[in-house]
């Protein structure tokens, strides 16, 4: 005995089988070679545009420095190096001993030249 739900299920199954038969009547289509050529021409055009771009230049150098890595890895290492370098420049005290030595030498030179001048003063 087929109840209402059973009848509905049978109907849906019939619809499914019927739809499958209908779809089989639709022809399959070959892909036109002109379409393939157009799609690849789009690819070639975009590739050529990228070849001359700044991003391609940057990616090329990143590939040489760090082969196989995504661009963000060498970029972040370079950025970190730059930050460390700047912080070192700001916070590491400059070494003034060399300049004071130069000053002392200057003073010595002045003192020596004064003594030399003194020699001639009495002439």
């Amino acid at each position: 005995m087929i109840n209402q739900n059973g009848v509905m299920m049978m109907s849906e199954m019939d619809d499914k089988i019927f739809a499958e038969k209908l779809m089989k009547t639709l022809p399959t289509m070959a892909v036109p070679s002109a379409l393939e050529a157009r799609i690849l021409a789009d690819f070639d055009r975009l590739a050529a545009r990228r070849q001359g771009g700044l991003m391609h230049f940057v990616e090329g150098w990143a590939e040489r420095l760090w082969p196989g890595a995504p661009l963000w890895q060498p970029a972040s290492v370079l950025a970190l190096s730059l930050v460390i370098g700047l912080m070192a420049g700001v916070f590491v005290p400059s070494f003034n001993s060399a300049s004071t030595t130069v000053t002392n030498s200057d003073q010595t030179l002045v003192a020596d030249s004064t003594s030399v001048m003194d020699l001639y003063k009495d002439l």
């Binding site: 619809d15 019927f18 739809a19 209908l22 639709l26 289509m29 379409l35 157009r38 799609i39």
Partner: protein
């Protein structure tokens, strides 16, 4: 493999396409173009429009391939969604056709000759398919014309399996009502 990673047979090709590998682009196109074109052809009914649709879809592939993140989603799913969205956009831009012109199906009572030529039959079925609402049409084409499973078709359409089955049931029912005179030949 990390949890949640998707196994995708297209990953290698897509990555190579992103690096400008023409051979990879050609292989990717050969792999997916026939099915994409068939889907677009059945959604849009015009060959030229279907070709434009798939060409636009592949243009998006070439543009976005360099940024493709492997493992997050299947490339084929993304590609089919792009194709379907292109189809939906074109369908929505079309002026609304009068219902009588959408599917010129002869009344079963008036059809004198049940032995239709194959070409006429496919034309009639194609017209009835075109008359379906776009989402029902997509569901029927994916499941019956491209023979995809329900789960796969639901994923391509971005809906639940239950929603897909509802679309299929309604689409099949409409086809049965429109083409019941063909059914009498079984």
């Amino acid at each position: 493999m990390a949890a949640g990673m998707v196994i995708d047979p297209d990953t290698d090709l897509v990555v190579r396409v992103g690096k400008g590998d023409r051979a990879a682009a050609q292989a990717l196109m050969a792999r997916h173009l026939p099915a994409m074109l068939a889907l677009a052809r059945r959604m849009l009914s015009g060959q030229a429009e279907a070709e434009d649709c798939v060409q636009e879809a592949f243009l998006k592939v070439w543009t976005h391939a360099a940024r493709w993140q492997p493992g997050k989603a299947k490339f084929e799913t993304w590609l089919y969604r792009v194709t379907l969205n292109q189809c939906y956009d074109r369908l929505r831009k079309r002026p609304a056709e009068p219902l009588e012109a959408a599917a010129d199906v002869p009344d079963s009572a008036d059809a004198p000759d049940r032995g239709l030529e194959v070409a006429d039959l496919s034309k009639e079925v194609g017209a009835a398919l075109q008359a379906l609402p776009e989402r029902q049409r997509a569901a029927v084409v994916l499941c019956h014309f491209q023979e995809r499973g329900n789960a796969e078709a639901a994923e391509l359409l971005g809906i639940s399996v239950e929603a897909l089955e509802s679309l299929l049931a309604r689409g099949r029912r409409t086809l049965r009502m429109k083409l019941s005179h063909l059914r009498a030949d079984d």
